[in-house]
Symmetry: D2
């Protein structure tokens, strides 16, 4: 299914080498301030070609809002958005028409759909994530209006063996470095490793941390729509993601702690072990999640031309934020739908 | 929401200290062999009171099938199932009526629902998972008829600091030890630690591994219903789960490997790094997931009376299997719904 | 699918000749006053055996609330409700095991499900509607708390050739006559015709009118969830319903009127031609719908024993009300989920 | 909600006076032959400006397929389609910015969304239906591949007081006359009345009949997704529709018949009284529905310029067909998803 969400719903379409990518956001209330520039700014954060660390492909990715917005406010009708694919260069992929790319899902898709799009990765391409970023930009606009205290930031916390220590950065601090790691020393080392991998036609995985402050108490829908469950689905639906954890400030080491130790409230009064979620609902503390990415499979040919991402994590940061924003916008509307007696 | 699934749908109801727990399974095709004994056997695997390792509470948990089955075959109509709560002992909880239990979600639920059920954990209780096991039993019955090669087994792979090495056990081998860890040495050490924790009124977390053999190629619904995404949601919706990973046979260490190393096909030809999922779809190899559980919060009072689970992992094994079976039964029906040209 | 609704959701199960009928209502907010007696009262209104006009079958239909309610208030968790089938007399149906009942859907269901339940109509039985009445009772409880001005009443407006003129009755006025037609002269004539049909082993169809006052402006979800569309689905899902119209105070004759005449505001200022719905949304005027029922198919054998309903309309009145209440409760919650800027 | 369907899903967006209208069809299997020309041909059937009977507005309505189709076959990925709005002439509507149009839903939408799009009808405009026709074209392509015997045709059966008798036309016969009534004498009289209404700035309603041959036995999802219920929702979601009936070959007069008469199999062996649906499922006989339309509200100003449809029924015929095709394509996939034992 290419639709995500219950009330705040994102539907996406488009193959990486077809004419266009598109997104439809349904369920956004009316009156939310929203401009094309705002959505474009979000897209620019995931755009390729912005540093030596990421693919050299040029994709202008200009978004056009086709509906649902009038005079910079949402109408309450579905918001259609379009990005033309201008740099498909599907000739690059000509030789792929008959053979599957190692490490890619080509064989699996051919079996499932009884064909494989010879133009390229189609819906498995990372390019599909730009539709998520469009949806996330609208979700953030709604949250900014209705829950102004909420702030959501993701950053690169690990690249290969390089791990950044705990930090609570702003989005500006994250964007200040091309690795999107806000810890200077770790960022420098990550950068070195990524350039090394790039030169070697190699690639690196790692993790992204997500922190959301200001989530009201009680968001989430027991028992199958617990906040942690919808966040897990949202994040696991991103192509290269290979795991998600929440809480566990000490990482996997926390699992070795006994219950009396684990549940002991820290001196600060915070209980970060829960990652901001208890009983499946937000508990008023910061949401803290970690998303794991495997290193991308690469094609020697593309590697030679610099047309691949040796490490997708820097560009995945806005995608992680977008998926979280979509979940939270939906949780917000669902919470509104449970009126309590006056 | 208390419904899970798109075509094969489980709806659950019941509070731990109310009259009964119930499950409705909708969307199961007709003609699937199913007996009450079969469902009861599944429930008995998660029943408390079966060893010194788990809570001493006695809950007979007798299931009654109210609809959807006739002469030991499904009718194609919704299957209603009921388990009466016979051992609520809510007087134990009398003192809780006015104060929140530390480490529990009481405060969060009170904020959300503007009340808290003084009888106990209600829907946040582990008791809610028995409805999942009922659903899982029906899902397994459908899979057994339609995809007989599919086999699904989960086991305890870590308890506190004790980690069991790689293994591919049968369900019988898992059930042979009260820890549900099929690696003898690790199991013995886990048992020792759990009894120790029990004596100390303490508790332990850890991880459960899940392996599914025989999944046909191509199951899953791109892009938001990728198999890994629905599995992540399903498993993350279990109360104490604090993380999910797939692939990563070497654990978190795998994230440090470079792409050329990570994607290199092992000598066996298998590519376990993908955990059986590529492009979001099953790739024909075994599904391999790991589910992380935090140690349960305990109440001194309950600990004193032996009425708590010092380690919920042994009893969580059938719950993990049930959630996976529900996802796979749904994926199977969704795959049927995509007819290819003859 | 056996689930109805988006946020306020009713799931039903149970075959007419199985052990029990059940309903699960999910999505009802917490704190809504609700008693078993209230639900029972709703069920009693559709109970058979209450007058000479309806089937002589005795079905006590005692409801038990299994979850979701505590101390006469909803908990915000799913409400499970159960009614045991005590008077199945499936021996009556023994001879049916091998032959299809004329006018019934037996052949169709056998083709669809590759079997036919020899015990009776199963899910096609009118008995299935009691689960809808349970759901409707909860929906009305929510509406009574949150939209106290809303009042919803249905009545029999036609039986065979006997048509009752326009009327705006209370529910008490409707229940005052066994036909549930509040127009005395028409009711008497309907009664005569029904008894005549009963004596002849015959049956009668007709129509039920539905009026809802006090619906706030703007309920409904464009473009596919327009209020008239979900009402049409809800009412058309009732077994014997063969049509639905809204507006058209003059009946089908209104279709012959020209637009300038049709849209001319009546002297009263009301615009009943719209049936309370414009642009798919409630417009603040009374909702007015008409639901058409075909005469039920009868079995000579049952007719002989008085075990059939010569006219189901009197007993269908609470079912029509229940389906409308479910739609409106859902529309209310969906409307809550669209917060406007303060 | 702007999405329709469970497995075969249509999502639409676009305001009548915004930049574009769009449709996303998700869930269509791969390998279905589909060309842009095919979709364009469907759109051309609802296009305005084709005869003196309909609005003189020129809307070229050129569709562009943006995704999901490659080399004239569906890919199994979502199909995005776009139609630019080229003839908005919103200056016509300039005067409307501050006052509501009588007979339109302006006031209702303003209350609901706390604003009204001064550019025109937005999502309540009949222009929204072109997205349905795009979806219907894809649905018909799927049905043509998988259920080739199925044929679906709708026609105008009543305009104002002019009623066409029973007929079973082909689509070509329907399109042969600008009224889309295949009964010559009635068509001529309808044409005369429509031109008369046009000259008078008046409008006319009526009914459209729908007949589907070749529907396999057993389609539909009890109990809330009965085929008649989803068809009723689909058709009732069309703007001007004010009622739907099925069966009742003799019209409302059939409701006066007694059961023994009603259910008596006609000499032909057909049982048209059921409209092809029993127990909520297709019974193998032709589906027969009737859809009622109120006369459109008109604006004197538009009437003067010929920029309104005095009778929308001729242009609504392909919309009725599209909605039915969407329901049937979905029912087909849902039926595939219920595998029976081999």
């Amino acid at each position: 299914m290419n639709t995500f969400g219950t009330l705040f719903r994102l539907t996406t379409f488009g193959e990486s080498h077809g004419p266009a990518m598109g997104a439809v956001i349904d369920g956004c209330p009316s009156g939310v301030p929203l401009t094309t520039a705002q959505v474009q700014a979000a897209l620019d954060r995931r755009k390729p070609g912005t540093s030596a660390l990421v693919t050299a492909r040029k994709e202008p990715d200009q978004v056009e809002l086709l509906s649902g917005v009038f005079q910079d406010k949402t109408l309450g009708t579905p918001i259609g958005a379009l990005v033309r694919n201008t740099n498909q260069r599907s000739q690059d992929y000509a030789t792929l028409a008959t053979e599957d790319r190692p490490g890619h899902a080509d064989a699996v898709w051919r079996e499932r759909f009884q064909h494989r799009d010879p133009r390229g990765g189609g819906r498995t391409s990372g390019r599909e994530t730009l539709c998520r970023v469009i949806g996330g930009a609208v979700a953030e606009a709604l949250l900014a209006r209705d829950v102004p205290k909420l702030s959501l930031v993701a950053w690169v916390s690990q690249v290969g063996p390089v791990v950044a220590g705990p930090v609570t950065p702003t989005r500006a601090q994250v964007d200040a470095h091309p690795t999107r790691c806000p810890v200077a020393a770790a960022a420098a080392e990550m950068e070195r490793r990524i350039l090394e991998a790039k030169a070697a036609g190699d690639s690196l995985g790692g993790s992204i941390d997500l922190r959301v402050d200001g989530v009201p108490v009680g968001w989430g829908e027991p028992v199958f729509g617990k906040l942690k469950a919808t966040l897990a689905q949202a994040l696991a639906s991103i192509g290269a993601v290979t795991g998600v954890t929440w809480g566990l400030p000490g990482g996997m080491k926390d699992l070795e702690r006994s219950g009396l130790d684990f549940h002991r409230a820290p001196a600060t009064g915070a209980s970060a072990v829960y990652g901001g979620i208890q009983g499946g609902l937000s508990n008023g503390e910061p949401l803290e999640l970690r998303v794991f990415f495997k290193p991308p499979a690469t094609l020697a040919q593309h590697a030679k031309e610099g047309r691949h991402d040796p490490c997708i994590l820097p560009r995945a940061v806005p995608v992680v934020e977008a998926m979280a924003a979509l979940v939270l916008a939906d949780a917000h509307l669902l919470q509104c739908a449970r009126p309590h007696q006056a």
